[in-house]
């Protein structure tokens, strides 16, 4: 059985089915089921690649190497836990009338479509299809962000749509430029868009074209990654969309964009044999880190705040990939994993907290620990984890990143340190009053499913304490792949 197809088709079929099911409860269950099946297939897929360098499937259309195998599993996993979380969450939203049954149907269907786009993007070997899948995922999430149909939600979705549409168009232009030079080497066909072939022949590609292409790709996919100054859509889209969507946006979609960017960076490095791409990424990473960290200090909306934290962490990864040493790449991959886990876990917690307090305004959220200790502690621990405190995995990756920075660009360690510190301060400035103290009068009890949160944090903890050998091997392989360039 071809697990590639199975992994991809399950969410697609699920999405179509869900578009037809009217009963929200049944739909929610089917949603969970679909995601579980997807996750199972993705695990089987990962299992098949275990012990091999890479596998190609279906005429080179699909491709799995150490770099994307864990991302596929991660995507399917976070996708699954998010559906589990969203079941009671969306039920509550339905009960309080923020959404109606039609929208719920749209939500479930689009969610699976988004999953499909994500998985397609991670598994495809064709940079054109990669673009298409990213666009697909974007379009699906645009509809998800506007789900509440409030003025703010519409405005946020519009902003998201226009800015990301623009960005992704630029990425397409970059892709065309790559095709422009690769078609001279690999012929005018699908081969010229096949990443593995491009990578193998990277040194034959025209460095000048690749340089220009990378500028467009950087701005294009960088918009999706949420890099400053193209990040403006991100806080609004996170803040106004339903919380499960914020969770997958932060936890998954940004990863896909960065994944794509890094894939292109490998090509560009192989072609130009300079650090140009790396330096650009480091520059974007550093600026984004500082701006995001500073911005954290003046926030009112809880989800917006955590979305700035996502920018901060994507910036860290961008910076790390840009550094271009094996240690840095290792750190970035690890960071990608733990950030997805922790950040989506935080959004789950935040979602429940916001429902309890009936607001996303941070000044109205108080005393979570008193009101519901699980959520209060969850938010506090999650924030500590994302801020880079051990024994969670974020600490480990930041430690490695920091070391790698000092190894290659010691003077950049200072702004890096500053950014991390300011970011941490910004988070705790707001999280502390929310979790501590006495809860306000209007707090109410809601159905809460904390299991996904615990699972996420538990995994992040595990990754901080002891990384399994196979994962570490993957990271190592991927890191050498990323760093190795065209070699």
């Amino acid at each position: 059985m071809n697990f590639f197809l199975a992994t991809l088709l399950t969410p697609l079929i699920g999405g179509v089915l869900l578009a037809m099911i009217r009963n929200p409860k049944l739909a929610a269950k089917l949603n969970v089921l679909t995601s579980c099946v997807t996750f199972t297939f993705s695990l089987l897929l990962a299992f098949t690649v275990l012990g091999k360098d890479s596998i190609h499937a279906m005429n080179d259309w699909f491709y799995l190497d150490a770099y994307n195998v864990f991302l596929v599993s991660l995507t399917a996993f976070v996708g699954m836990t998010t559906t589990i979380f969203s079941k009671p969450y969306m039920q509550h939203e339905l009960e309080i009338g923020r959404v109606n049954e039609r929208r719920i149907r749209l939500y479930h269907s689009m969610y699976q479509l988004f999953q499909f786009g994500m998985l397609l993007g991670f598994t495809t070997n064709n940079i054109g299809v990669l673009w298409v899948s990213l666009e697909l995922a974007t379009l699906a999430t645009v509809l998800l962000v506007s789900l509440y149909r409030t003025p703010a939600a519409i405005a946020a979705a519009w902003k998201y749509f226009i800015l990301c549409g623009m960005g992704i168009a630029l990425a397409l232009f970059g892709t065309i430029l790559v095709f422009f030079t690769s078609s001279m080497v690999l012929g005018h066909g699908n081969e010229a868009l096949t990443w593995s072939l491009l990578h193998a022949n990277a040194s034959d590609l025209d460095p000048a074209v690749m340089g220009i292409a990378f500028c467009f790709l950087m701005v294009g996919y960088g918009t999706k990654v949420g890099l400053v100054p193209m990040h403006a859509w991100l806080p609004d889209a996170h803040g106004e969309g339903p919380t499960p969507v914020s969770a997958v946006l932060s936890g998954l979609l940004l990863n896909l964009a960065l994944y794509a960017l890094v894939r292109f960076k490998m090509l560009v490095d192989g072609s130009t044999n300079t650090d140009m791409a790396g330096h650009i990424m480091m520059g974007f990473g550093m600026i984004s880190l500082l701006v995001a960290a500073m911005s954290l200090h003046k926030q009112t909306d809880i989800k917006r705040m955590f979305s700035f934290s996502s920018i901060e962490h994507m910036a860290l990864m961008t910076f790390a990939f840009g550094l271009g040493t094996p240690l840095a790449a290792f750190a970035a991959l690890l960071h990608m994993t733990v950030h997805s886990l922790v950040k989506s876990g935080i959004f789950f917690t935040v979602g429940h907290a916001a429902q309890m307090m009936g607001t996303q305004k941070m000044s109205d959220i108080r005393g979570l620990i008193y009101h519901y200790p699980g959520i209060g502690w969850g938010l506090l621990i999650g924030t500590a984890a994302i801020a880079g405190f051990p024994p969670f995995g974020v600490f480990m990756s930041e430690f490695l990143l920091f070391t790698a920075t000092i190894e290659s660009y010691p003077w950049l360690a200072a702004p890096l340190l500053l950014g991390l510190l300011i970011g941490m301060a910004g988070l705790f400035r707001f999280v502390q009053p929310m979790v501590y103290g006495e809860p306000p009068e209007h707090a109410k009890d809601v159905r809460v499913n904390m299991i996904p949160v615990y699972v996420h944090f538990g995994l992040a903890l595990l990754l901080g304490l002891a990384i399994p050998a196979f994962l570490s091997d993957w990271y190592h392989q991927a890191a050498s792949l990323i760093v190795g360039g065209g070699a």
Binding site: M218, A232, F389, F402
Partner: protein, 684 residues
């Protein structure tokens, strides 16, 4: 991998504390069992850590590799002399604090968070001491910071506690990052995270200096060195008192340990540069003086004690700085003396500061207040607490025959025996630091006269003080153990110093006793058989101090005088106090904490810059004053002129950025447009 008794015992201690962290939270519904289990396991941990420390100091330590962490970077643990000594410091305070906690936590409603984070906190501290690679060090280090943050914010219903917790966590994180930077710098030169490799490697002087500075600022922040101390006076008072005792007593010492580990052990005294020691000395002197000056102006008991921690860290750093200067100038014996002095003060401070915080906790427990202005006369209500607290007061004031004096005496000896160093600046710094030490010591005595006098003596200033009750036997026992240790370490330093002497042996390759034995050996009339009686660090002719004889002499003489003068069988007459013929005074007419420190406030007016507000209510005529209100507030200069501006600046930028995030969509499109133009222009 080398197993040894010390290491096994240390691992057992870790196991016991992990057990506490896992099992105790599960017993949420049986508070008594939970408390007993928590305190029992913690006490056991303390004992085991003590045992491991002793055995590590006596024999060789061992090392072990645990399959945790990264696959290519497993967790290395090791007991060496330095680590063993600090294990001892940890154990010797954790044990009594555990006993104390059993009584202190009796009425604690929310025990479970404490049951999780208290053991983790202890685990973090022990782990730092045991760690043998940079990564494990950092893991344990941050574990210590985070868990203590949760302990600081334990009583989070008060806004001041949250604020203190925030600033604490922020500074701790900064410290962690700086330390990480230091390790990373060493790593960049060695290519390995393992301490063993770092020890062997050569580091270029520039990078060594960078690593030193990063480590200095990082550990200095955590240890509360001025001006990075801003978190300390806020965080220590708001934590539960048993936690404050541990934080002030050990956690700050673990920072000192880390500093010694990186500078002395990983880089080694061969890498020292002349200005390192000078910087440490300067930092130590300024901390010692500013700490005690600020302490004098406090009226919150625990806050006052917190400032004294800053002072004592300064004293330890003075000793360390002297040792670094001397080691750099190639006087290993004197450097060893300085190091021993620093370590001796470390364990001393752990003991008496732990005791002081426990005492403060007992007072808080009984009166419900930390405000000294509301206390008074507690010696009658809480005689045991008062007596034990007094022991700590005398110890911290560096008065014989208790332990504080011994370590300060050793530091003075180091400073005085220091030969002339290169350069006028250095030459002047050594005696100047000694002067600062003397000043700090004398001011500390002043401060503790104030503390003991205002809290325990005189009349009760409020109802809660008048109705205070003595604490239970557990708390008393918990306080009695460190008090006894203070006395023992004060009277029998000559027995303890040979044990300490092994630490400089591993770090410097030389030790005090070996030099003395191989040297002139002119121990004068003191034979080796009586060596426990005399403390003669360099030689009897240079300096000697015999605490046992002084104590004995004082006891005999005092006893004789008492026996001679004291009339037998006559009950002493009690009457109203005389008070210059005006016995009808109100309790509020006593000198209180604010008035006691008024002369110093006036003398150091320019340093304190106090804000005074005087307000008099008058009836019609200006002479008919009905009520006078005087408020004085001394704020921490560092907070006022360093922390707050930084905070304001950050907020200012954040505000500007927020405006930037509220533009309309055209602006963002324009940004993207400009970015792509810029990239194309710059990179093609």
């Amino acid at each position: 991998m080398m197993q040894s008794l010390a290491l096994s015992v240390a691992l057992l201690a870790c196991g016991s504390v992990i057990m506490a962290a896992i099992v105790a939270p599960m017993l949420q519904h049986q508070q008594n069992i939970q408390r007993a289990l928590l305190c029992g396991l913690l006490g056991l941990t303390g004992l085991l850590a003590c045992a491991a420390g002793f055995s590590g100091l006596m024999n060789d330590g061992g090392n072990i590799i645990l399959p945790l962490g990264l696959p290519w970077l497993p967790m290395h643990l090791r007991v060496d002399m330095l680590g063993a000594f600090f294990l001892l410091v940890i154990g010797v305070l954790v044990f009594p604090v555990a006993i104390y906690s059993y009584g202190y936590l009796k009425h604690e409603q929310r025990l479970t968070p404490l049951a999780i984070f208290l053991p983790l906190f202890v685990l973090g501290m022990m782990g730092v001491v045991l760690a043998d690679d940079a990564f494990s060090f950092m893991i344990f280090w941050e574990l210590m910071s985070v868990s203590s943050y949760f302990l600081v914010t334990h009583e989070h219903q008060y806004i001041e506690n949250r604020k203190a917790g925030f600033i604490y966590l922020l500074m701790a994180h900064m410290a962690g990052l700086l330390i990480m930077g230091s390790f990373a710098t060493i790593y960049a030169s060695t290519g390995s995270f393992e301490f063993a490799a770092m020890r062997d490697a050569e580091i270029a002087p520039l990078w060594a200096s960078v690593a030193f500075l990063l480590a200095g600022f990082g550990f200095g922040t955590k240890a509360g060195v001025v001006p990075m101390h801003g978190w300390l006076p806020d965080a220590h008072p708001v934590a539960p008192s048993n936690v404050s005792a541990l934080m002030s007593g050990i956690m700050l010492k673990v920072a000192i340990f880390g500093f010694i580990r990186i500078t002395w052990d990983l880089m080694g005294s061969g890498d020292f540069q002349w200005w390192w020691g000078a910087l440490v000395l300067a930092a130590g002197s300024s901390s010692a003086i500013s700490g005690v000056l600020m302490a004098l102006q406090q009226h919150d008991l625990k806050r006052l004690l917190a400032y004294h921690s800053i002072e004592n860290i300064g004293i330890i750093l003075i000793a360390l700085g002297l040792a670094m200067l001397l080691a750099e100038a190639e006087y290993p014996t004197l450097a060893a003396l300085g190091l021993i002095a620093a370590l001796y003060h470390t364990i001393n401070h752990a003991l008496f500061k732990g005791l002081l915080f426990m005492g403060a906790g007992a007072v808080l427990h009984s009166t419900g207040s930390r405000n000294m202005e509301a206390m008074g006369g507690l010696i009658h209500r809480m005689p045991w607490t008062a007596a034990l607290f007094l022991v700590a007061c005398i110890s911290i004031s560096a008065l014989p025959p208790f332990n504080g004096f011994v370590s300060e005496w050793l530091i003075f000896q180091t400073a005085l025996m220091a030969p002339q160093l290169d350069g006028t600046l250095l030459t002047a710094m050594v005696p100047f630091s000694a002067a600062m030490l003397a000043l700090a010591g004398a001011l500390a005595a002043t401060c503790f006269v104030k503390v003991f006098g205002v809290v325990f003596l005189g009349h009760a200033r409020s109802a809660c003080a008048a109705e205070a009750k003595e604490v239970d036997v557990w708390m008393k026992l918990g306080m009695a153990i460190p008090a006894l240790c203070c006395l023992l370490l004060g009277v029998l330093p000559a027995l303890f110093i040979p044990l300490l002497d092994r630490v400089p042996y591993t770090l410097l390759g030389t030790s005090l006793l070996s030099t003395l034995a191989s040297g002139s050996g002119s121990a004068g009339q003191t034979s080796t058989a009586l060596s426990w009686l005399w403390l003669t660090p360099i030689g009897a002719a240079h300096a000697s101090y015999s605490a046992p004889i002084i104590l004995l002499g004082m006891l005999v003489l005092g006893g004789l005088v008492f026996w001679w003068l004291h009339p037998k069988g006559i009950v002493i007459r009690r009457s109203k106090m005389w008070s210059c013929g005006n016995p009808h005074t109100h309790a509020r007419m006593q000198y209180n904490a604010t008035s006691f420190s008024q002369p110093l406030r006036r003398i150091f007016w320019d340093v304190y810059q106090p804000e005074e507000h005087e307000h008099a209510e008058r009836r019609q005529h200006k002479l008919l004053t009905t009520r006078v209100r005087y408020v004085v507030h001394v704020s921490d200069m560092a907070v006022k002129h360093l922390y707050q501006p930084i905070g304001r600046f950050t907020l200012w930028i954040a505000k500007a950025l927020r405006h930037e995030h509220q533009r309309d969509i055209h602006a963002y499109l324009a940004y993207t447009f400009a970015t792509i133009l810029f990239l194309l222009a710059a990179f093609t």
